[in-house]
Subunit: 198 residues, 2 copies
DNA sequence: AGAATCAAAGCACGACCGTTCGGAAAAATT
DNA sequence: AATTTTTCCGAACGGTCGTGCTTTGATTCT
């Protein structure tokens, strides 16, 4: 890996951690330069605008999500086990890898009403993610685990909603039972999505 | 109402609308002064620090929430009708009164990992709100509408989670079906909370 | 009406913001 | 080893940030 790529990676990693705590808009070039031990202008040269930096950090987060949450989950059996694995890998990822919580959740709420290219960029990532949840549910339907009349988009909506609730309970409220609560709610969602026995 | 109170009200209203769109941290004294047509220092004099301004805006939002969401809902019948009314008044409030979405949701995710008095202040408001949801469910239990073994805290968790999901779908994703999706999910939550017939 | 209080403005401050530019050092390529 | 390209720094820019201070004008109270 070339020198440039290497330091850029370092910068993005530091930026992502910072953003998970204090937000992407609060990310400042000067502060970030201090953290990675280089000059403002030296750091700036890698991105050429703050907006580009923000978008690259979001891309970096999305790649990270795929690597640490999605890929590991796909190795599990199709259907329900895979869905449960997503919850588990996401818990681990968002709580272990960052000082703050899941950076994608933070970004989603930060840019939900802030027009611009960053928002547009982020929206695409979110749609991709929600589509993956929907597909995971569809697989469970195809496997005969979930009811064949299940609305998989509705499933994705509820599935993601519960993640957001967990994020708030564990981060803002610092509720120690958050993870347990989340898992119970997901179990309930899965249970009522199951194929009716006959 | 004295002159001071009056302009302060004007400022808070403008600040809240601004924050619902761009966030509470992006709120700047100068920009806000421009919006309400007064000088920076004149506006500053009402709050004496930016932090105090932020907290007063959050208090203002919480009061607003109580007035436009909670109070109207309480006039409905105890139990399920009241719970459904909360969803309806909240929909109306968060979509009609602000340029951005619900300011309390925005604040919650903005301060979830940003330590300080603003965060502490906000946390109290959120706990109060969640407690109200829990109590609303408890009333439905007492009225015999919900199952007597229902975990009302779990109900509040899911109820609030769905609100967060709705917020994201309607704001970031601009999904036109968001409200419908939300209502369906709430119906499902209520349905499975109901007392088992025997 | 006069006195006391308050609201608002103007101005200035130091700090930090994103960004530009030119040059030096380091790395990659030939 | 020479040359080109990349990486990084230092200094400086125009702006905006939050926050004081002082003064003037409006409002409120006696």
């Amino acid at each position: 890996m070339s020198k440039g790529k290497e330091t850029r990676e370092t910068i993005l990693r530091a930026a992502l951690d910072f953003a998970s705590k204090l937000g992407f808009e609060s990310l400042s070039i000067g502060e970030l330069a201090k953290r990675v031990g280089m000059s403002k202008s030296g750091l700036f040269g890698h991105f050429n605008s703050k907006e580009k930096l923000q978008m690259m950090v979001i891309d970096y987060a999305a790649d990270n999500f795929t690597e640490h949450v999605f890929i590991p989950a796909i190795s599990k059996d199709r259907g329900i086990p895979r869905i449960l694995a997503i919850v588990e890998t996401w818990h681990r990822w968002s709580s272990r890898y960052f000082t703050g919580g899941c950076p994608l959740v933070a970004a989603a709420f930060e840019y939900d009403d802030r027009p611009g290219p960053v928002r547009d960029h982020l929206t695409e990532h979110q749609k991709t993610m929600l589509n993956s949840f929907q597909k995971a549910a569809q697989i469970a339907v195809d496997e005969g685990q979930f009811d064949r009349n299940l609305d998989c988009d509705a499933f994705a909506f509820e599935f993601y909603s519960l993640m957001l609730g967990y994020h708030l309970y564990s981060r803002l409220l610092q509720d120690d039972d958050a993870k347990f609560r989340h898992l119970e709610a997901v179990d309930s969602l899965i249970e009522r999505s199951k194929a009716k026995e006959q």
